[in-house]
């Protein structure tokens, strides 16, 4: 029984980390993509194909993508130094 309790205990933490990082970060990335594509500025005479992101949209996207990139760096730190940081 002890094994099952221990496993469930680890499991809900994995699920929580999974939802926060594994679903949260792609959601943040999606927010960046959305920001990049909201209120796009259409050049005079051009169609939607030539539109460019608005300044605000671009800023929002950069912010989202930066946080995602930092999270990936964090992931690499966990891979390399994880055992020292969190114990085995």
């Amino acid at each position: 029984m002890d094994i099952v309790t221990k496993a469930l205990d680890a499991l809900w933490q994995v699920a929580l980390a999974g939802v926060l990082l594994g679903a949260g970060l792609p959601a943040l990335f999606a927010l960046g993509v959305r920001s990049l594509n909201t209120n796009r500025v259409v050049a005079v005479g051009g169609g939607d194909a030539t539109s460019v992101p608005s300044a605000a949209g671009r800023a929002g996207a950069v912010l989202c993508f930066t946080v995602c990139a930092l999270a990936v760096l964090f992931g690499i730190v966990v891979i390399v130094f994880g055992k020292q940081l969190f114990g085995g």
Binding site: V14, A17, A23, P26
Partner: protein, 405 residues
């Protein structure tokens, strides 16, 4: 016949064990390329050859980054080592080398068989299965740590796909809600970058986690032989050899498994691909640090399935999922049977002869499986062909039928 060998019997067996372990590491690599890269290949985020090359490099780097001493891997399921990871004194030398060798052969043959069928299956389970079978054959049921089997094999195997599927499904749902108004082409272009990033992380984590297992096995063999005594460190050449073996395996690309995961299970679009790989990366990394190492394969497959469930109207092929589930359940027992038979044969013939004969059987079987795979070859060129009810790409099936007619 030992008299004719220029080396002693234990040294000869040690050499065979090292070669076999590296071969296992190689199959581990090509079997698992799909976990990281199947979705990126399926959506066209990366060209097939580029994808496997990237994954191979990251596996190589990952393998060198691993710092944990992995003698504990085999120690979780079989009772051939003491608490500090060193072999049990009475098994030192040939006995433990033979058990490890038979276990590796069981793992390799199962990996090759599932690859032939294009089924993703856990290389850790295959290795555990082989070792368990060999341990039962040589030491009896007491040779297995059944508690460890429950906590490191059975529970994680049930939990992994469920948790991964859930996370990927949630991620997919949220992504599609957020980008509902973005034109499809622009959306997919952006998400391809996200896919590449998340898939790279999975590759790196795979290199660290999986190459370690083989490093541990080889180090264990070296200790059993007596040429290495430090249970806290791994010889550099072992690390380098394992890193190269898993990376070259990855580069070979298990195209059959890639095809099943990328095209067979779910029709995948880039946002789903990113959701799946991000879920896999997050779960693999967090689980290995929370004391519940989940199989990369089980996590990746669960994630891909989840991303199919999370998108409205996406087709999930349950028949394919069912075949995978069956493969997972029988992975451990099947590898165990092979491991046990190999041990029995090696032991019956004894020493150098026994190990040589089993090694020969391994080579012949591997050759036969490879030849068989050429009949329905899946390569970088046809890996993305439309899924028409089976692993064999449609054009090839048609061509074969014409030939046979």
């Amino acid at each position: 016949m030992e008299n004719y060998l220029p080396v002693t019997e234990p040294l000869f067996i040690l050499a065979i064990v090292v070669v076999t372990a590296l071969a296992f590491d190689f199959t581990n690599g090509f079997h698992d390329t799909a976990n990281a890269m199947a979705t990126s290949i399926a959506t066209g985020a990366l060209r097939p050859k580029i994808a496997v090359a990237l994954s191979a490099v990251l596996n190589l780097v990952g393998a060198f980054l691993s710092i944990e001493v992995a003698l504990t891997v085999s120690n979780k399921v079989v009772a051939i080592q003491g608490e500090n990871g060193a072999p049990v004194p009475e098994l030192m030398g040939t006995p433990i080398l033979t058990i490890v060798f038979a276990g590796l052969v069981g793992g390799i043959l199962w990996n090759l068989a599932t690859w032939l069928l294009g089924l993703p299956s856990s290389s850790s389970h295959a290795l555990f299965g082989g070792l368990i079978g060999a341990a039962i054959a040589s030491l009896g049921l007491g040779g297995v740590k059944w508690d460890g089997v429950a906590s490191s094999v059975i529970i994680p195997a049930v939990a992994a796909p469920v948790v991964a599927g859930l996370v990927a499904a949630v991620g997919t749902k949220v992504i599609y809600a957020l980008v509902a108004k973005v034109p499809e082409e622009r959306r997919d272009r952006s998400f391809r970058w996200g896919q590449i990033g998340s898939a790279s992380l999975v590759s790196l984590a795979h290199g660290t986690n999986d190459a370690q297992k083989t490093m541990g096995v080889i180090t264990l063999a070296l200790i059993a032989y007596g040429s290495w005594t430090n249970v806290e460190a791994i010889p550099f050449w072992v690390k380098a050899a394992c890193a190269l073996a898993i990376a070259s395996g990855t580069y070979t690309g298990g195209w059959r498994v890639i095809r099943t995961l990328g095209k067979g299970l779910v029709e995948i679009h880039s946002p789903q691909g990113m959701a799946a790989e991000a879920s896999s990366a997050a779960i693999i990394l967090s689980s290995s640090h929370l004391g519940m190492a989940l199989s990369t394969t089980h996590v990746a497959t669960g994630s891909i399935l989840g991303t199919g469930l999370g998108k409205k109207g996406a087709e999930v092929r349950w028949a394919v999922a069912g075949r995978m589930a069956v493969a997972w359940v029988i992975t451990l027992p099947a590898a165990a049977v092979v491991g046990a038979l190999c041990w029995a044969l090696a032991n019956a013939l004894g020493g150098t002869l026994g190990v040589s004969v089993v090694f020969l059987i391994l080579l012949v079987s591997a050759g036969a499986i490879f030849r068989h795979s050429r009949k329905t070859a899946v390569t970088a060129n046809n890996v993305n062909h439309e899924w028409q009810g089976g692993l064999a790409p449609a054009a090839d099936v048609a061509a074969r039928q014409t030939v046979n007619a």
